[in-house]
């Protein structure tokens, strides 16, 4: 296990794919944050035409302490 940890912790000098993985991880994480924010906006804030989003998500907004009315 200790040897494995060392390999995993080695910087990109030995294993170039390590850098690839970490930049892929970073991109994925940022995309996820963005997607999460868009979804939170839709569920928590968007009204939609005629309040469609508001009405469908109404009880969720009240239950998870979003400002609603």
């Amino acid at each position: 296990m200790t040897t494995n940890t060392k390999v995993a912790g080695t910087s990109g000098s030995l294993d170039t794919s390590d850098v690839g993985v970490s930049s892929q991880r970073l991109t994925l994480a940022l995309l996820m944050l963005l997607a999460g924010a868009v979804l939170i906006f839709t569920v928590g804030f968007a009204q939609g035409s005629g309040g469609v989003f508001h009405n469908a998500t109404h009880d969720t907004r009240h239950a998870i302490t979003f400002p609603c009315h």
Binding site: M1, N4, T5, V7, A8, V21, S22, Q24, R25, L26, L28, A29, L30, M32, L33, A35, G36, A37, L39, I40, T42, V43, G44, F45, Q47, G50, G51, V52, H54, N55, A56, T57, H58, D59, T60, H62, A63, I64, T65, F66, P67, C68, H69
Partner: protein, 265 residues
């Protein structure tokens, strides 16, 4: 890795969304339905006051409320779209309403799971069910706890400041608390930690927007019950989210947690 991280998000969001829908039906939803009986009057303020027994105190409130209403005129369009009595689509009470609440709970679960898994990926350290629970607790503080300190969970029918102002304060508080918790957990020296505490306190020092005068048709007893019930429901939601994202992340996303995989293998 991408598909496994996405699977982690979807599974956790689904599990948490379903469970919280059940939890919500115990106390939160009945209280919302109870409060909505009072809400009908609140949305047409002048009529409420004509119908109710007008006392001197009430007359004073009407004056203050009119000031409040005129301040909200700028948001008149929104007020109309929010009005439940217009002809816009509304899910019917009962199964249909529960169905849409379930769907939006699952979407919310997925949204929050995206945030949690993004944090796991950014940190690149092993996560399991127990550490996931801690991140869930952080999520609760960020998205429910800290905002609720300024804007307690509202029931339909309660008077509040303009929606725009409250949403802006809410978003600001969430961002400040998130950065604060990030600084607290990821830095080792004292200065960033002090900055973190100041950042987390800032929204509360500035203060949440509130109406000039609180007036609610909803009995205070119901409002108080609701505030506690919805905070507990959110806490439960975040516990499930934290534990399940941690669990599935450990099982499914091995590349970032190499040492852990060998330990569990």
């Amino acid at each position: 890795m991408i598909s496994k991280a996405v699977t982690t998000v979807l599974l956790s969001g689904f599990v948490a969304g379903i469970l919280v829908t059940g939890a919500q039906m115990l106390k939160v939803t009945p209280l919302i339905l109870q409060a909505e009986k009072f809400e009908v009057g609140t949305e047409v303020l002048p009529h409420t006051h004509q119908q109710s027994e007008i006392t001197h105190e009430h007359e004073l409130n009407v004056v203050a409320l009119n000031v409040h209403v005129s301040m909200k005129d700028a948001h008149a369009v929104e007020a109309v779209s929010v009005d439940h009595s217009d002809e816009s689509w509304l899910p019917e009470d009962g199964a249909e309403r529960t169905f849409y609440t379930g769907i939006s709970n699952i979407v919310t679960g997925i949204a929050f799971s995206l945030m949690l898994v993004a944090v796991y990926l950014l940190r690149g350290k092993p996560v399991n069910m127990n550490s996931g629970l801690l991140w869930g607790a952080a999520g609760f503080l960020i998205f429910s706890g800290s905002p609720a300190l300024g804007l307690p969970p509202e029931l339909p029918g309660m008077t509040a400041a303009a929606l725009d102002a409250r949403q802006t304060w809410w978003i600001g508080t969430v961002i400040a608390t998130a950065i604060g918790i990030g600084l607290l957990s990821e830095t080792k020296t004292i200065l960033p930690k002090i900055a973190a505490v100041l950042l987390m306190a800032a929204p509360h020092l500035i203060g949440a927007p509130h109406p000039l005068l609180f007036e609610s048709n909803v009995p205070a007893e119901i409002s108080a019950q609701f505030a506690i019930a919805s905070l507990f429901t959110s806490a439960f939601f975040w516990m499930v989210l934290g534990a399940s994202t941690g669990y599935f992340y450990q099982k499914l996303v091995p590349k970032t947690t190499e040492s852990l995989t060998t330990a569990s293998a």
